[in-house]
Amino acid sequence: MKSKDQEYKEIFLAEALENHEELNRLLTLLEKKSDDTKSVNAIFRITHTLKGNAAGMGFQNVADFAHVLEDFFGEVRDGNLALDDAIFTNLFKAVDVLGALINAIKDDGKVQFRGIKTKLEVLLKSVRQETASTKKEDKPIENKTARSATKPKQKPAKKVSKARRPAADLKSEKKSVPDHHAKMVEEGENTQEAPDTKMTFSDLVQVPVRKLDNLLNLVGELVIERDRIIAVNAGNMDSNEYARLNRVSSDLQYSVMDVRLVQVGFLFNKFHRVARDAASLEGKKVSLNLKGTDTEIDRNILQIISDSLIHLIRNAVGHGIETPDERKKAGKPEEGRIVLSAFSESDAVIIEIKDDGTGIDAAAVRDKAIKKGLISAEDARQMSDNDAILMIFEPGFSTMDQVTSISGRGVGMDVVKKALDSIGGNVSVHAELGKGTTFSLRLPSSMAVKGTLLFELGAETYAIPLAYTEAVVSLYKPDLHKVSNGLVATYLDKTISVVFLQDLFALKNWESVYQDKVLHRSFDDLDPQKKLDIIIVSYNGRTIGFVVDKLLQQKEIVEKPLMKPMDRVKIISGVTIMGNGHVCLVFNVAAICNMIFTKNFSSKNMMSYQ
């Protein structure tokens, strides 16, 4: 994995080389038509940009050189300096040297650039003197700086010594060398070796994301096809037969996924502004610290969660951090601290937003949830504080009573939750009253491949994302108990509710779940000897067991979205194509849990909390 510096350097180089190309092009244009002010302005702009970028990156040689060019063209632009052939020769040489300097950054080579630079500086100086003193004679001023003893540049060059020395050189030269009518041509050779004119190409290629998406799709199909072929021929082929195909296609898949990875820093860096704006609106003092900015994540995932992160940051400022007065009273430093950090954990990326503000009042959340009818009072009492806090992600929940411009606009945290659900991510909250809150988002690092568990239900095969599954257990009928309208079982000493998936799927719509005994149907017909395969999933702090007909295997799948109008079926998030060409539906745990818990089921019968 590349360090951040190196990545920035690569980007700088790509841009600088592009600038260099453009300079070459413009200069050629300008030579043909020396009164083209547009080109002059463009060159001025480009050199200016290059100077800024190079200075920012600490490539002082390039920055200085670009600076001289910039000044030079500044004079040309202002009409103080007319261009003639001799000057062009020098300018082209200067641009070549600039290119060489840029390339030297890449391979750490040494480039002699003093000579040409000094030449330009002398030219500039004389122009300025002239315009200052006498009314300028409209004649190009050339200078002789035939100093064959140009010293090789020193690396790493210190800003001060570098900036000073040419100037010193210049002064001494100014005296010894007559201002006018020096011959440029002759000293071109001895100041430095002829610049290398070989073509240079950037090491970076810019590719639209759309093309990458397409590539990833194709690779996905390839993998599906590979699995299909292997499945078809599984019986009559040596299992090693496909090892190579397997390996190459896997490598291809991972390479494509790797291409799509970007560093979270690109997004994180934008949040300084978000936090600042939010803080100044609220009259609070906040500092944002970034950690783990070089963590890599799929570009599309980053895009999907970017709004959520903005929301969470604003939330941390708006709800988490107190006003400076409150903070002082609480014995905290006036300035609130928000830490935005990212790190990789196996194939997931964790992003944490941590603030040192008030924390979240679990009791207040409970009250509010009860008031809004999201849970019953008894359930609320049984919930742990952290679980209760998870209620803030329920649709229609917002703790702040008054609406501010920053947060509490009714679009609550459920937006965050939804964004996470759509990519198979997770969120957890850890809050300590008076000390602060930590939101921790668990994101898949790539969208392409999903680890799933395959199971059979009815005649069909379904896949359930491993991101949500906790465990798989086998129970028998006596292990299940009817409690009111639902079923419960014991798992790891916890009472969890159990649902026969076939009962759910048989429903025409969710309203009919209210009919008596709907969820007992399969249970009633059950043979006590039959072993039940139960997949235990947890979502947003709730645990539920799904009874399936048969567990198959674990499989990495490439998920495809459903097309209209089928995409309206929310309990299915997508499909994958199996080895035999059949379509396998991917279960949307988030949606199904939302439906079961939030709306239609009475919480008392169905819910269970650890």
Partner: protein
């Protein structure tokens, strides 16, 4: 050609089906009747692939299938029109041989047919647009575009997107969306 265009212009408020051009239809049998679709609404006809049942969809939606890498909803129009009794996806997998793939900007769906559909050129003179059909109130007949009358045949020309856009499909599936 110019005659045709002027003719079209002269008929206010009439769709292009009204002009005297011949039109290409795809004709397929549903139950004992023949139904027709405009050829430009059809993308292709394929052997029906394995259909995977979709939970929480109306019964006439048989499920989804993989057609050339696209996952497409498969619909049984016979069931939708009340021509036959409801069947299961299993039976649909065994019985229906061909799938008409219908495509619009909005979506793609497959329609199950038992026989290979034919193409047919009909003159718009043979189309009867204003039709009054006695039907019970459950059936929305808006999707019936015209009745094509040939010597011994009667073809019901339908606008497939009207069939699919019907409120019904919306509401049934949106029941499941409610909480999401």
């Amino acid at each position: 050609m110019s005659d045709n265009t002027s003719l079209k212009m002269d008929e206010p408020n009439e769709t292009k089906e009204q002009s005297l051009e011949t039109q290409q239809l795809i004709v397929f049998r549903q139950g004992t009747e023949e139904y027709g679709l405009h050829i430009d609404q059809i993308k292709e006809v394929v052997l029906t692939p394995n259909i995977t049942k979709m939970p929480q969809t109306p019964n006439y939606v048989k499920g989804v299938a993989n057609i050339r890498g696209n996952i497409i909803g498969i619909i049984d129009l016979e069931e939708k029109f009340g021509i036959k009794e409801a069947t299961t996806t299993d039976r649909a997998n065994k019985e229906n041989n061909y799938t008409l793939v219908v495509e619009s900007d909005e979506f793609k769906v497959g329609i199950l047919v038992t026989e290979v559909p034919n193409t047919l050129s009909v003159s718009s003179a043979d189309m009867e647009h204003s039709i009054n059909i006695v039907h019970d109130h459950n059936v929305n007949s808006e999707y019936i575009q015209a009745i094509v009358k040939l010597k011994d045949r009667l073809i019901i020309l339908i606008d497939i997107f009207k069939v699919l856009n019907e409120q019904e499909l919306e509401t049934v599936t949106s029941n499941t969306v409610g909480a999401g």
